[in-house]
Every structure is written in C-alpha cells, then in structure tokens.
Amino acid sequence: MWAGGKGECGGGEFLSGWRGVVGLGSARIPINSTQGEAMSRVRVLVGTRKGAFILSSDGKRQHWEVSGPHFAGWPVYHAKGSPVDPNRIYASQSSDWFGQVIQRSNDGGKTWETPGGGVTKTPDGMPVGESNKYVYDTSAQTGKPLTTHQWYDGTQHPWEFKRVWHLEPSLTDPETVYAGVEDAALFRTTDGGHSWQEMAGLRGHGTGPKWQPGAGGLCLHTIVLDKDNPKRIFIAISAAGAFRTDDGGTNWKPINQGLRSQYIPDPNAEVGHCVHHMAMHPARPGVLFMQKHWDVMRSDNAGDLWTEVSGNLPTDFGFVIEVHAHEPETIYVVPIKSDGEHFPLDGQLRVYRSRKGGNEWEALTKGLPQRDCYVNVLRDAMAVDSLDKCGVYFGTTGGQVYASADAGDSWAPIVRDLPAVLSVEVQTLA
C-alpha cells in the first residue's frame, strides 16, 4: 500500500546538540534554553508503520526528546491532540491482522488506554468496549443503505470497513473527534472514543457507486474543521474528491468544480478525483489549498471553484500541502516525481514554498539531502507549529522527520531512522 521502502538519503545534519537514540522508552536530552523560550514547548506526534513516536522540544526546537515506539509493531496511521486539551491525544492503531484499535492518552502521550477497553473483573463486569467498533449506519432513522462503490476494475464492490486513516479532534470539545475511515466514510465520537457513529449523510450522498479506491484504498483521509462555523466541515476522499457540509454533517455536496483529472473517463467529473490532501488557514476559512494526485489547487470560495496554482513547480504530483501558521498565503508542498515513481525528482528532497498562495514557488533545500534520496512524503506527514517563527515538520517513508524552525529556510532531521512515517502532527504548548 505504501510506496517505497526505507530510503537511503545522504546529506542533512542533525540539529545542533541532538543526541537522542530511538528505542524503547525515551531518551531525555538536556535542554539549555532561555527562560522565555522554555515557556513554549513543541510536541510532534509521529505515526509510523511500526508504532508511534513523540518528539518533544522547547521553543528553540534544537534539542529533542524522543519517546516511543508506542504500540510497537502496529501501524499507527495518525495521532492528533485536542486543541482544547492538548494532553488528550487520540491515535489510530491499525493492523491487517488484528484490525482497528483506538488509543487515547490523557497525559500528553505518557500513558495510553483503549477507551472502554480495560480489563473487566468478571465476564459481565462492564459493557464490551465499543471504541474499536465502526459499523456503517444503515438504520432507517439515521442511516443510509450500504450501497456499493467502484472497484479498481470498474465493477461494483461492497462497502467494507478497514481502518481509520485520520482523527480530527473537535475545536471545542475534547470528547468529540471525527474519524475518516476506509472504505470511505466519516465517523464521530462524542464520548471520548468509547463509541463511534457514522455521519451517514456523506456516504449516502448518492455518488458512492462512482467513488473508487486510490492506490492506498478508498480512504477518507482529510478532515478540515472551520473554527468560525462549527456546522461547516470539509473532507477529502481518494478517489472521490472533496466534499463540504454546511449543516453539521447531515447533507454534503461535492466541491470539485475546477478539478481536472485526465486519468478518469470524464476529466471534469463531479466526483472521482484523487485528492491527496487539503489545508486551510484557520484565520481564512474560505480559502482552501489542495494537493491533488497531479496539480496543486486553491479555492477562494470554500471549494465552490478551484483554480490550479502549480505554477513553476518542477512536478505537481505530490501528497502533502500545508499552510504557514501566521501567513495565510504562504504554503508548502513536497513535489514527488510522478504517480509511477513515488520519490523526489533527481534524488533531491526539496520542499517548495509559495509566499503568494501558489503559482510562484521557491525550492527549500538547505539541510535536506540533495543526492541519492528516494523517499516519499505521505499525505498526512507534514504539519506546522504556531510559534512566532513558524516551525515546519515533515516525515518520510525512509524514517526521517525533518524540522525547520525558520519557516522552511533551513532544515535538519530530528530523527532519521524511524520506521516509514505515515503521519506527522504538531502541538504548540504554552
């Protein structure tokens, strides 16, 4: 499913003073910082193919503490903290062998629990844990018929739950989390992960039989919440496209006008586009940026119409896209050679930054390997912190997590030998 194995990248120096060793437990690194910088901390949550890791630093972002692997041996597709209670972190632990497990921490990742999944004293001592239970809602009252979706060969295929790709905690309630799953659907918990209910209006939109799996499966991988309008949610599915609800999830509309995908029968179809990721600056909720399979896009009207902003990118295939924390027109992508060759062009790992919301891009290479690098950067593996000098982070399928403490001008690996990185999220802590 995941392209590429462990890449062997040359170049790149450790951040000054970093001496951590990744392994069981944590490696604590002495921090020598001014009092002001020590007031802020950064916690980077990394999901990998063989567990989760937590990378912590003070505001200088030079010395890092590495803890993990958590859930060793299991793929961790995503981990994200609550904006309301940063010590509340949710993680999606998923295995082809053992299925889906939701983990939750109430202490910033020091300890974890499966909500409702503790050991019972007696066989009937407590309700059976529902936290791992994702059942498509087909009830007459709230659900939608479980139709079929398109399979790779164009035939229709039954909807089957496989895993949670993305967890998006509510902006206002630490007990509420949205989950994007494969086969594509949106679930929500309002009890801290004990139980999950499908928001069936999305799957029941009516276009489901036209949705088809991308190379990674038919996954709902992006959930964007609007802090100014709690009833508005954006999601994206590979390969169906982007959708928006304006009524809290009851009704959804595809927002794919302007997308053009030459690899589907109707390049301008209402659905069927392989959207890889979307990002939005919280201060400008109507402006969306998208990395599509090919093409980097933007919308200035909440997805009603998209325009291409690939501009001078050397290739506009890629997976990640992110927005600077304080500059809503500054965006980042990592161009990947092609859909057939999931690695950077010419073995050179380059982040591209546009300070004009697209079209005009500059390559950011300082500290990144510029030869013999054949890793990939997957769709959920880039994030920013919100310190004054915006930090940018991304992880690779070669196991490196790179950090920039100067908005992308220079980079250094925090760690470089993790399992393949599936996701990166950042928490800025007061």
Binding site: W74, W97, F98, Q100, V119, P123, G129, N132
Partner: protein, 107 residues
C-alpha cells in the same frame, strides 16, 4: 477452564503476559471462548473476529491439538483436551506458507 494462547500483539493490547485461563459456561466452542475472552478483555473486541458478524479475521487462525480449527463451525465443540484445559487453544497470526496438520486424534 480453557487455556488460550494469544499472539504477542494481542497480549500487549489486553495487558497480559503468558497464557490466559478463562472460564466458559457449558461445552466450550470457539465462539463461547471468544465471547468470554472479549468480555474480560474488551480491548480485544474486533481484533480476532468482526464485531458484528463474528467472522474470524482473515489473517488469523485457530489451532489446537496440532489441528487447524480455523474453518470448523464456530459453535462446534472444541476438542476434549482443550475443554479440560490439558491443551490450549492457539490464536495465531497467519504469516506465510506451511500447512498445519489436520486435527489430530486428541479431539
């Protein structure tokens, strides 16, 4: 008392070390053993069999008494040696290759 041997990942998830001994009402079957196991360790719900259909997950197998019980009816009685606790029920993560011998004479 039925003995159950879990794969390492599921032992970690359940918070146990070593084999599990579990009380099952009536003649034990695969389903009744898993019912009791999931009731005591709810974190295991969905990891061995589907939460709704109770179908065995495709990459897991059930072995006992040197036999493969994976395709036996889940409500069929387990071998007497498993029911008595003399032999464990193994829940195994399928890896690759190798045919396990058909059920031996212990059942």
């Amino acid at each position: 008392m039925v003995k159950v041997v879990l794969p390492g990942h599921l032992r970690t998830l359940a918070g146990v070390t070593g084999d599990i001994e579990i009380e099952v009402a009536g003649p034990p079957t695969t389903n009744s053993v898993l019912d009791a196991l999931e009731a005591r360790y709810p974190a295991l719900c969905g990891t061995i069999r589907d939460q709704v259909t109770h179908q065995r997950r495709p990459f897991l197998r059930y072995f006992a008494c040197e036999g493969d019980l994976s395709h036996d009816p889940p409500d069929a009685p387990l071998p007497a040696a498993v029911a008595s606790g003399a032999e464990p029920l193994f829940i195994i993560g399928a890896i690759a290759g190798g045919a396990f011998p058909h059920r031996s004479e212990c059942g």
